[in-house]
Symmetry: C2
Subunit: 203 residues, 2 copies
DNA sequence: TTGTTTTCGTCACTTGGTGACATTAACATT
DNA sequence: AATGTTAATGTCACCAAGTGACGAAAACAA
């Protein structure tokens, strides 16, 4: 997972890379649709068999979630660095917004990936376990701060609503991409923290 | 959907009912697991072929969501009856809590159904389109109140976080079923509306 | 040259889901 | 009583996702 030791390179060398499969799949999905793309096609384009694809990814949809899992790790790492004097909800907002700052060169791929996820039913369905791990990262932090078990009502509610606000920001960013993603995230999370009280007058 | 007219009963009579298939599936799922139950088994138990099952339900998981779709309709109907002077977030809380009052006799089935949905990955994945319609019901109401398009950031955020809070209440109710479901729903939604400000002191 | 190791390819199989088409069982008509 | 119409079912064929088993290829080491 971290740095690769200078492994003595035993055995048959891999015929492709997870990243290569991801890029090929991403292109085929956008070109001809997710459901219309078979794993056979992805494998062929990568010069590898269908069976080998499933050795790199557990499912056809998993290709789209590789980067997301990395974000979950960054999320946990960022929470671990938050000072104790930062209020709970402010800490969550700052961490979540901070983790979701992307380099300009990475934005196009992020956009096509998120557009696929939010438009293809089969991909929306595949989101559940990944969202769950994301929520768990937030929930563990909230539970520790509140000195409550992670499955208590408040940590659960905080983590779930936080993700919900972020998804709203993402979807709005996809629909009207005139603004920066982080602005929308910050807006949505601030609305969440204030209990949607400000928008009733400024709305 | 409503009352059935005294239809002249043309054609071959149905060999089963959607409700019958639902009950049989629910029992088999709890007894031997969702993934371990084939549609062939459900059909056989109902005295009907595999193909016929798919004429009643679009997928194996759809059986668990029939009642939920009814709740979405009740949700929309309840929103339509809310007076204009009730504040937005209060209206949402009251409507959502009100719609989720179940008769004591219906609670056991609700419990097993929700337990299945929250524990089986394949069923969690199947939730997406139904959650989407539920959110849309809330979002349309919020959008109308805020005089904004339904895909604006705030209506989106409100509807998504509302469902998120409800799901937290449901899951906590499943894990620790000592209290009433509506109490948890009310607690979670009040926490959402206050921006989680009260729990920081009351812990 | 002979192992050892790692990855890959082939094959067989189950299951979910779909389309096409014949078939059954009711009622209506003549 | 025979025939037609209608609605639901059954059968069949098919595709694609995913999985397990097992042998083969490709590297390096001894």
């Amino acid at each position: 997972m971290t740095a690769e030791a200078p492994s003595p390179r035993r055995g048959r060398p891999p015929g492709t890379t997870a990243r290569a499969l991801e890029l090929i799949a991403l292109q085929l999905f956008t070109e001809q649709g997710f459901d219309e793309t078979t794993i056979e096609q992805i494998g062929t384009a990568a010069g590898v068999s269908r069976r080998t694809f499933f050795r790199y990814y557990d499912s056809k949809a998993a290709v789209l979630w590789d980067d997301f899992e990395g974000e979950v790790e960054r999320l946990r790492a960022a929470f671990a660095r938050v000072p104790y004097d930062v209020p709970l909800m402010d800490a969550i907002r700052e961490v979540v917004v901070g983790v979701n700052r992307y380099r300009a060169e990475d934005v196009p791929e992020l956009r096509t990936r998120m557009r696929l996820i939010s438009s293809v039913p089969a991909l929306q369905a595949s989101a559940a376990p990944h969202y769950d791990r994301w929520e768990r990262a937030v929930g563990d932090f909230a539970a520790a701060r509140l000195a409550q078990p992670a499955d208590s009502l408040y940590p659960l509610t905080i983590s779930r609503t936080t993700l919900a606000a972020c998804r709203a920001a993402f979807d709005h960013w996809l629909a009207r991409g005139d603004e920066d993603l982080t602005s929308y995230l910050d807006l949505a999370l601030r609305a969440l923290i204030t209990g949607f009280s400000d928008m009733l007058t400024t709305g």
